[in-house]
C-alpha cells in the first residue's frame, strides 16, 4: 500500500494545485494563518494560561484589566481580562475553538444534506428534482436569523437555561446546517446536470450499474471540486452567522463564549473604556473569516476547469 | 515576388517549466491567386501557423523568430495598429466555428456593415449594398432577408456561407480558412468547399486552407504542406504529393485512409501517436513512429531535400536521392 500512497503524494506534488499554491503568496499566508489558528484552537486546553470554563479560576477582582503595555496591566493576563475577570487570551483561544467547531460542524451537516439532495435532484430529475428544489427554495426564503430565533426559543423553553448552555453548540450547528444546505445542494445539482450528460455516465449505465452506484461512485467524485470550493466559503459564512447569532444573544451563552458572544459581552463596556474586550476577539474573527475567504477565492480560481485545462 | 512569404518562423508558448516550441523553422510562400493546403493532425501546429500569420497568437504564445512578409512588409514586426489595417481587410480569416466570428446579438447586416466601415469611409447605405452583393455571391437563398436576421436563425451551412461573405467584404487578397467545413455534414461540406473554390478562382484570391482531410486538399488546392509536430516535413504540388508522397509520415497518412484499403482487410496503420509539445523527440520528430528510422534520425533534424518538385525533410529520402545520383554518375 505504501507505493500507492507515495505515488499519490507525488501526483499531488506534480499537480496544478500544488504548483499554483507555491506561487501564490496570499494563499500561502492565508493557509499558514488558518493552520495556526486551527492548531491553537485544537490545543487550546494546553496553550491557554487559564480555563475560562472553570469558575474556580475566575476572580471578579481581576475584571476589566487592560492588555499588557497599557496602564494597570497585569503580566499574568497578556491580553487583559473581560468583565467577569476571565483571562482574555484563554477565552479567545477557547472561543475560536467553539467558533471553528460550529463552522466545520455546520458545513459538514450542510454538505451531507446538500450532496445527498443535490445528487438526487440532479441525477433523478423530474418530480424528485422539482420537489427537492422547491423545498430548497422555501428553506432559503427563511433567513437564518429567523430560524435561529424560533429554534432557539423552543430549545430554551424546553431545556431551561442551564441545560441550554450544554447543547447550544449542537443547536447552532443544526440551525446553520439546516438553513444553508440549499447552497450546496444547488451547486451539486448544477454540476451533476453537467456530468450526467457525459459519456462515462452512459458507459456506466450501459454496464448495468445501479442508480446508487452511478450517483455515488461515478458522478459524486467528479463534482467534488465545486463542493470543496463552496464548502470553504460556507465555513466562513457559518462562523459569521454564528457570531451574529451570538451577538444578538441567540447563540453561545457567555459561560462558554464563542468569538461572537465575546464580542457581545465586551460591547457593553466599550463606553467605559474597556475596548479590548470587544476589539481583540473582533480582530481574531475578522482575520479568521478573511483567511478562509481568501483561501476559498484561491481554490475557486485553481479548480476552475477552464483555467485548469489550459 | 510572392504575395506572402513566411521565412523561418518560430512560435513558442511560454508555460511553467520553460518554453514549448509550437512551430520550428516554418518557411513557405503563397502567390497571388494560389491555393495552398496545410495538412496535419491535431497538435501538428497548423492552426498556430494560421493564427501567427496574422500575428494573432495570444499570450502565452509568441513569435520567437522569423519573418512573415506580406508584399515585402514584415507582419511579425508590425504594430498592432498597422496590423489591424491588414487583418480582415487584405487578409481575411474563416474559422471552423462560425460563432467565433459572428456576434450572436447583432444582425448579420449590422455586423457586415461594421466590418466594412472599420476599414473604409463609406455610408451605411453603400456598405449595406456591398454586404448584399457578397451574400448574393455566396449563393445564400433570399440574401436580402438574411441581412436582418440574427446568426442563430441560420443553419450551420448558411452561417458558414455568411462567414465566407464577410471574408469577401473588402476584396481581400488572401483568405486563410481554418478547417472551414469540419463541423458540417458531408453534403453541406461539399457545397461550401465548391463555393469557396469557385469564389477564389473568380476573384483571384489566394487561399490558405488548413485541414486534416486529404481528400479536400486534393480537390481544392494546387500546393500543399504537410506538418508534423510543429515542422513542415513535406511541401510541393498537391497532385505530386498525393500520388507519390515521399515522407514516410505523408505516405502513412495517405495509406491509412479507409478508401486506400481493401474492404474487409486491415488498414495500413502508423504506430503510436503524435508527440505532445512537451516531449518532442530529438532529431526527426517522426522517428519513433517511422519504420525507416536510423540512428541518424534520432540525433539530428533532417534538412530539406528536393525530389521532383517536392521538398522533403527526411534522411531516408535524401539517401535514396543520393543513391540514384551515384548510379546515374556511374552509368555516365
Amino acid at each position: 500500500m505504501t507505493t500507492a500512497t507515495v505515488s499519490r503524494w507525488d501526483r499531488f506534488r506534480e499537480s496544478f494545485v500544488w504548483y499554483s499554491f507555491k506561487r501564490d503568496k496570499v494563499a500561502i499566508i492565508s493557509f499558514l494563518v488558518l493552520l495556526l489558528m486551527v492548531l491553537a484552537a485544537i490545543f487550546a486546553p494546553l496553550l491557554a494560561p487559564a480555563n475560562p470554563y472553570d469558575l474556580a479560576q475566575i476572580n471578579i477582582m481581576n475584571s476589566e484589566m487592560p492588555p499588557v503595555g497599557l496602564d494597570g496591566a497585569d503580566p499574568a493576563f497578556p491580553l487583559g481580562t473581560d468583565a467577569q475577570g476571565r483571562d482574555l487570551l484563554s477565552t479567545i483561544l477557547y472561543g475560536t475553538r467553539v467558533s471553528l467547531m460550529i463552522g466545520f460542524g455546520a458545513v459538514l451537516l450542510q454538505a451531507v444534506l446538500g450532496i445527498l439532495f443535490g445528487l438526487m435532484a440532479g441525477y433523478l430529475g423530474g418530480k424528485v428534482d422539482a420537489i427537492l428544489m422547491r423545498i430548497a427554495d422555501v428553506q432559503l426564503s427563511f433567513s437564518t436569523l429567523m430560524v435561529a430565533i424560533i429554534v432557539g426559543a423552543v430549545f430554551k423553553a424546553s431545556f431551561g437555561n442551564l441545560m441550554f448552555g450544554e447543547i447550544a453548540i449542537y443547536m447552532l450547528i443544526f440551525i446553520i446546517g439546516i438553513a444553508e444546505w440549499p447552497q450546496i445542494a444547488r451547486t451539486v445539482r448544477a454540476s451533476v446536470l453537467a456530468e450526467k450528460k457525459k459519456e462515462y455516465v452512459e458507459a456506466a449505465r450501459v454496464m448495468g450499474f445501479g442508480t446508487r452506484r452511478i450517483m455515488f461512485r461515478h458522478i459524486l467524485p467528479n463534482t467534488l471540486s465545486p463542493i470543496f470550493v463552496i464548502a470553504t466559503v460556507q465555513i466562513a459564512n457559518a462562523i459569521i452567522s454564528e457570531a451574529a447569532l451570538s451577538f444578538l444573544g441567540l447563540g453561545m451563552p457567555e459561560t462558554q463564549p464563542s468569538l461572537g458572544s465575546l464580542i457581545k459581552s465586551g460591547f457593553d463596556y466599550i463606553q467605559s473604556g474597556s475596548w479590548w474586550i470587544t476589539l481583540i476577539p473582533g480582530l481574531v474573527l475578522v482575520v479568521l473569516v478573511l483567511v478562509i475567504n481568501l483561501l476559498g477565492d484561491w481554490l475557486r480560481d485553481v479548480m476552475n476547469p477552464r483555467l485548469y485545462k489550459g | 515576388m510572392a504575395l506572402l512569404e513566411v521565412k523561418d518562423l518560430d512560435v513558442r508558448f511560454a508555460v511553467r517549466g520553460g518554453d514549448l516550441t509550437a512551430l520550428r523553422g516554418i518557411s513557405f510562400s503563397l502567390d497571388k491567386g494560389e491555393r495552398l493546403g496545410l495538412v496535419g493532425e491535431s497538435g501538428a501546429g497548423k492552426s498556430v501557423a494560421a493564427f501567427s500569420i496574422l500575428n494573432l497568437i495570444a499570450m502565452p504564445g509568441y513569435i520567437a523568430g522569423g519573418q512573415i512578409l506580406y508584399k515585402g512588409r514584415d507582419l511579425a514586426a508590425m504594430s498592432e495598429r498597422e496590423l489591424r489595417k491588414i487583418r480582415g481587410n487584405r487578409i481575411a480569416m474563416i474559422f471552423q466555428d462560425p460563432m467565433m466570428t459572428l456576434n450572436p446579438v447583432l444582425t448579420i447586416g449590422t455586423q457586415m456593415v461594421e466590418a466594412i466601415q472599420a476599414h473604409r469611409k463609406i455610408s451605411r447605405k453603400d456598405a449595406r449594398a456591398i454586404a448584399l452583393d457578397r451574400l448574393q455571391k455566396v449563393q445564400i437563398p433570399s440574401p436580402g432577408k438574411r441581412l436582418d436576421q440574427y446568426p442563430h436563425e441560420l443553419s450551420g451551412g448558411m452561417r458558414q456561407r455568411v462567414i465566407i461573405a464577410i471574408a469577401l467584404l473588402l476584396d481581400p487578397e488572401i483568405i486563410i480558412a481554418d478547417e472551414p467545413t469540419t463541423a458540417l455534414d458531408v453534403t453541406i461540406q461539399a457545397e461550401i468547399m465548391d463555393l469557396l473554390l469557385d469564389l477564389c478562382e473568380q476573384e483571384n484570391v489566394a487561399l490558405m486552407l488548413i485541414t486534416h482531410d486529404l481528400g479536400v486538399v486534393s480537390q481544392v488546392t494546387q500546393r500543399m504542406l504537410v506538418m508534423y509536430s510543429g515542422r513542415i516535413i513535406e511541401q510541393g504540388p498537391t497532385r505530386e504529393i498525393i500520388n507519390d508522397a515521399q515522407h514516410p509520415y505523408t505516405q502513412g497518412l495517405i495509406n491509412a485512409l479507409p478508401q486506400m484499403g481493401e474492404p474487409g482487410q486491415r488498414l495500413f496503420q502508423i504506430p503510436g501517436s503524435m508527440p505532445s509539445l512537451k516531449n518532442v523527440p530529438t532529431g526527426c520528430p517522426f522517428h519513433p513512429r517511422c519504420s525507416f528510422a536510423t540512428d541518424q534520425c534520432t540525433r539530428m533534424m533532417p534538412e530539406y531535400v528536393r525530389s521532383g518538385n517536392v521538398d522533403v525533410a527526411c534522411y531516408e529520402v535524401a539517401n535514396l536521392i543520393e543513391q540514384e545520383r551515384r548510379m546515374q554518375e556511374a552509368e555516365s
Binding site: 467524485p221 467528479n222 | 481544392v220 479507409p258
Partner: protein, 336 residues
C-alpha cells in the same frame, strides 16, 4: 436465413420540446391554445442485425442514427416499437432481468475525452464492470481478465495505475474498447467511435475493432457519418435520413449501385484523393429540422426527382432486383 441477433421493429422516438402543461399553453389570437412540439428523431425504423456482421448506419447529423444506437442500448426508451435480442424482447426489461443483456451488449462512444471517468484509474475502470458482472470471480481471475483485454487492445499493463486524462485520444479510445470487451460481449454498438480521432489513429482503432470482431466473433452496429469508413468496415449499410431508413443494402452493392437519390448524393460528396475538383451531386436546400417533418417522403424537399406523389405519400422500403431495399417512389416507378 437464421434469426437475427438483434432486431429493431417499428422503432419511433420523440423528444418532447414543449415542457410541462403550463409551458405548453400559449395565448394566440385571443384564446388560449395548447401547443405541443416534439423532435421526431426516429420515425419507424426496422432493422435486423445478423450474427457476426457489422451493420453500419450512416447519415448526417440529425438523422437519428445516434438515437437508434442509444435506444438499442436502453439508454433511451422507445416512444413506440420494440427491440429484440436473440428473440427476446428487451426494451421493457428492468433491473435484474436486464443484467444478462447488459453484459452481452456493450457500447463504444464517440468522445474518448468524456467516456472515461476522470476520477478513476484505468485499472478501476476495467475492474469495476468485471467484478459487477462476475461477483463470484476471485481476484486472480479478475486480474487475468484485465490483463487479457489490455493486451488485446494493445495497451500497456503499466498504465493501470494512471488516469484517463494522461492519455491521448487514440489511447483513451483503446481503453474504452477494453472496458467494453472486459465483460465478454457478443454485440457492440459503436457510436461514431473514430470520428473524434486523427486520421492516423482512426486506422489503428478501425483495425482494432476488426481484429476484435474476428477473434471474439463480435457483431457490430456501427454508427457513422463517414461513408469511406463504411465501405471498408461494413457488411451491410443502412442509410438514414430524418429518422427513416432510405436505403439498406450489402456494402458492395450500395457503393457500386446506390439507388436512393440521397445515397447517391452522399456518396458523391466524399472528397476523394483522385479528384482535382469537388464533383458532387448538388442538392437543393438543407436538411429540414426534425421538429416539423415534411409530409410524404422526408427527402422530397431536396430531391431532384421529387414529384407530386413524393410530397404526399411516404415511400415504403421495397426490395429491388439487386437485393437492395430502398424507400423511394422514383425507384419503385422505374423513373430512376
Amino acid at each position: 436465413m437464421t434469426s437475427p441477433l438483434v432486431s429493431i421493429r417499428g422503432l419511433e422516438k420523440r423528444f418532447d420540446l414543449s415542457g410541462n402543461l403550463l409551458e405548453q399553453i400559449t395565448f394566440k389570437g385571443g384564446r388560449l391554445r395548447r401547443k405541443q412540439e416534439a423532435v421526431h428523431a426516429i420515425n419507424g425504423v426496422d432493422l435486423e442485425v445478423q450474427k457476426g456482421e457489422a451493420l453500419c448506419v450512416v447519415g448526417e447529423s440529425g438523422c437519428g442514427k445516434s438515437t437508434v444506437a442509444r435506444t438499442v442500448m436502453g439508454l433511451l426508451s422507445p416512444s413506440a416499437g420494440e427491440i429484440h435480442y436473440g428473440g427476446q424482447r428487451i426494451d421493457n426489461l428492468e433491473g435484474k432481468a436486464s443484467l444478462p443483456y447488459r453484459r452481452k451488449m456493450q457500447m463504444i462512444f464517440q468522445n474518448p475525452y468524456a467516456s472515461l471517468n476522470p476520477r478513476m484509474t484505468i485499472q478501476q475502470t476495467l475492474e469495476e464492470p468485471i467484478r459487477f458482472h462476475h461477483p463470484d470471480w476471485s481476484t486472480p481471475q479478475v486480474r487475468d481478465k484485465i490483463h487479457e483485454v489490455m493486451h488485446s487492445v494493445g495497451i500497456d499493463l503499466d498504465w493501470g495505475s494512471r488516469f484517463g486524462h494522461e492519455f491521448s485520444g487514440g489511447q483513451r479510445q483503446r481503453i474504452a474498447i477494453a472496458r467494453a470487451l472486459a465483460v465478454d460481449p457478443e454485440f457492440i454498438v459503436a457510436d461514431e467511435p473514430i470520428s473524434a480521432l486523427d486520421v492516423s489513429i482512426q486506422a489503428q482503432v478501425l483495425n482494432l475493432l476488426m481484429d476484435a470482431q474476428e477473434s471474439r466473433g463480435l457483431t457490430y452496429l456501427f454508427i457513422t457519418h463517414d461513408l469511406a469508413v463504411v465501405e471498408h468496415f461494413g457488411t451491410r449499410v443502412a442509410v438514414m435520413y430524418l429518422g427513416r431508413v432510405c436505403e439498406l443494402a450489402d456494402t458492395k452493392t450500395l457503393f457500386a449501385t446506390p439507388r436512393h437519390p440521397y445515397t447517391q448524393a452522399l456518396l458523391s460528396a466524399i472528397p476523394k484523393l483522385e479528384d482535382d475538383r469537388p464533383n458532387h451531386i448538388r442538392l437543393n436546400g438543407e436538411v429540414p429540422t426534425p421538429v416539423n417533418l415534411p409530409s410524404g417522403c422526408v427527402f422530397h424537399g431536396r430531391c431532384p426527382y421529387a414529384n407530386e406523389r413524393c410530397r404526399r405519400e411516404v415511400p415504403a422500403l421495397i426490395t429491388t432486383d439487386g437485393g437492395t431495399q430502398v424507400a423511394c417512389h422514383a425507384v419503385e416507378e422505374g423513373r430512376l
